[in-house]
């Protein structure tokens, strides 16, 4: 396997082919959607927070490349049960470390789209596209 096939490691393909927490979440408290205009990747996040300010439910919908969709799936697994303080502390390095793949500048946009949508869902109106 050459270096670039590392992009499609087992974990990425597994999350792409068998996404976790995928589907609608009717009546979710926090919702956001964004797309990557270059690729057409789309990610929608639905989040519920319980009384102790922890993420009780999180689901995503979307379409796009393996990187964006696997990243969304992996992000939901990272966030479930986390406190809002932990969620807000989650930065892109943490997500990229979890993805564990080498990304070019173009594909970085795919990988970080779900995190951008999370920021939008949390009400950060100043969230800038990465």
């Amino acid at each position: 396997m050459s270096a670039s096939y590392d992009l499609y490691q087992e974990q990425i393909l597994d999350h792409y082919k068998h996404p976790r927490n995928k589907g609608p979440l009717p009546g979710a408290a926090l919702n956001a959607r964004d797309s990557n205009p270059l690729c057409g990747d789309e990610v929608v996040l639905h989040v519920n927070v319980d009384s102790s300010k922890r993420i009780s439910e999180i689901r995503f919908e979307g379409q796009g490349c393996a990187i964006s969709q696997a990243s969304a799936s992996i992000l939901t697994t990272m966030l479930k049960g986390q406190s809002m303080a932990e969620v807000e502390a989650l930065n892109q390095d943490a997500l990229l470390k979890k993805l564990g793949i080498p990304l070019s500048v173009v594909r970085l946009k795919c990988a970080l789209l779900p995190l951008h949508v999370l920021r939008l869902a949390l009400g950060d109106t100043k969230a800038v596209r990465t």
Binding site: S4, Y5, Y8, L13, K17, Q63, C65, I67, R107
Partner: protein, 415 residues
């Protein structure tokens, strides 16, 4: 085994002219299948541009000294070559711009927006246009109140010509159409489209960005009023484009850029304009780019555009047949190479086009993925994106075989 296709060009000899094709990517030979985005450049073109800067760099049309005369001679010589390439009656019908996009904007702005169009006048386009032949006309709608209408495509990627007839009215002033689709590859019946436009008194604008590099064009036979194309897709440098216009069409077009070169006299608060085509070339032009384009034209003319077209048809037909035998792979546009340019858009089940492009990149194969600056067309086919391979004079059947092997590799990864 496929029947042995005729490959009409001496591809190894052509490849030897392209320094970049000697490059290896991850220790594999470079297989460049993205010429619809931009073509590679032969050493003759590269040397011609560097020769200008090394030996006779000077501004054109002004300097009295020897260098200036040489630069002007070569720049105007390039205009003559381009005129001959598309069989224009005169070099004065050739305007140098920076790109097809600029050429189309000159027409939309100068003929549409600032020209004779009245609110309610109609512009007919098609759903298969590149964004560069959509957005300039949006400006004319937004600022002049023009009405935009679009000819749809059939599922096979051809234009719905019967619908075109229905869209034409006495108020149609401009018809604008791609000669070849940059996604479907469809070669549109431009001569017929221009004829029907003229019957209702409209002018016909042709976006020939995907045609000029690949087939013989005779603007007199086509009878289009304007025709635009880019240098960089036809072996030339980036930053040089062409706008052909009939003399009366160019005379009726106001300049987009005001400045040096495009004027006859300037006084405080007013100016008179230079003659066509210089009227449209405000500012110091891309002299090296024009000279490089002239040499690209020489290169293509030496091969012969009929031969170029035949070669690409063979490669495209071979690819269409190979793709037809792949399970889980869908192609878009005409399935007959006679009806299409060497552009092959495709999708693979369960693999997003960006992932297809990433995996092919590992194999040293360059293809395009995305919406190809043709979002209205992608919407028409309900596609978020496709992969696209495109062929040129330096591609042969081996490149197609490598692409097909790469696609099988993609299918393994996403099985």
């Amino acid at each position: 085994m496929a029947k042995p296709a005729k490959v009409l060009l001496n591809v190894p000899a052509i490849k030897a002219d392209f320094p970049i094709l000697q490059r290896r990517i991850r220790d594999r030979r470079l297989i460049y299948l993205d010429s619809a985005a931009t073509s590679q450049k032969p050493k003759q073109v590269i040397e011609a541009t560097s020769d200008f800067y090394s030996r006779y760099n000077a501004n054109v049309h002004r300097a009295i000294y020897e260098l200036g005369e040489e630069a002007t001679r070569e720049y105007e010589g390039a205009r003559e070559k381009v005129a001959a390439f598309i069989r224009a009656k005169s070099p004065n019908e050739i305007v140098f711009t920076k790109s097809t996009t600029e050429s189309l904007n000159v027409v939309a702005y100068g003929y549409g927006l600032k020209g004779k169009l009245q609110p309610g006048d109609e512009i007919v386009g098609t759903v298969m246009e590149h964004h560069s032949n959509h957005v300039p006309w949006h400006f004319v709608k937004d600022h002049k109140g023009a009405v935009l209408k679009y000819v749809d495509v059939n599922d096979d990627g051809t234009l719905r010509m019967e619908q075109y007839d229905e869209l034409l009215t006495k108020r149609t002033k401009i018809v604008t159409v791609a000669f070849c689709s940059n996604v479907l590859g469809t070669i549109n019946p431009v001569k017929e489209i221009a004829k029907r436009a003229h019957e209702v008194g409209a002018v016909c604008v042709v976006d020939a960005a995907q045609a000029a590099p690949h087939m013989s064009i005779d603007v007199q036979d086509l009878d289009a009023d304007f025709l635009a194309f880019s240098g960089h897709k036809m072996l030339g440098p980036t930053g040089i484009g062409v706008l052909y216009g009939k003399p009366e069409a160019l005379e009726a077009t106001e300049p987009l850029l005001g400045g040096g070169e495009m004027i006859r006299e300037v006084h405080l608060g007013r100016a008179s304009w230079n003659d066509v085509p210089y009227r449209f070339e405000g500012g110091t032009p891309n002299i090296a780019g024009a000279i490089g384009l002239g040499v690209a034209v020489d290169y293509l003319m030496k091969l012969g555009m009929e031969v170029v077209r035949s070669h690409e048809m063979e490669v495209t037909q071979y690819a269409l047949e190979k793709f037809a035998r792949l399970n889980g792979v869908k192609t878009y546009g005409p399935k007959d190479a006679k009806k299409k340019a060497g552009v092959l858009a495709f999708t693979i089940d369960n693999a997003h086009p960006h992932d297809v492009a990433s995996i092919l990149d590992v194999e040293g194969i360059c293809i395009r993925s995305g919406h190809h600056c043709a979002q209205p067309l992608m919407e028409r086919f309900d596609l978020p994106a496709t992969a696209r391979a495109s062929f040129y004079i330096y591609n042969d059947l081996e490149d197609v075989d490598a692409l097909v092997a790469g696609i099988k590799r993609v299918q393994e990864v996403f099985a």
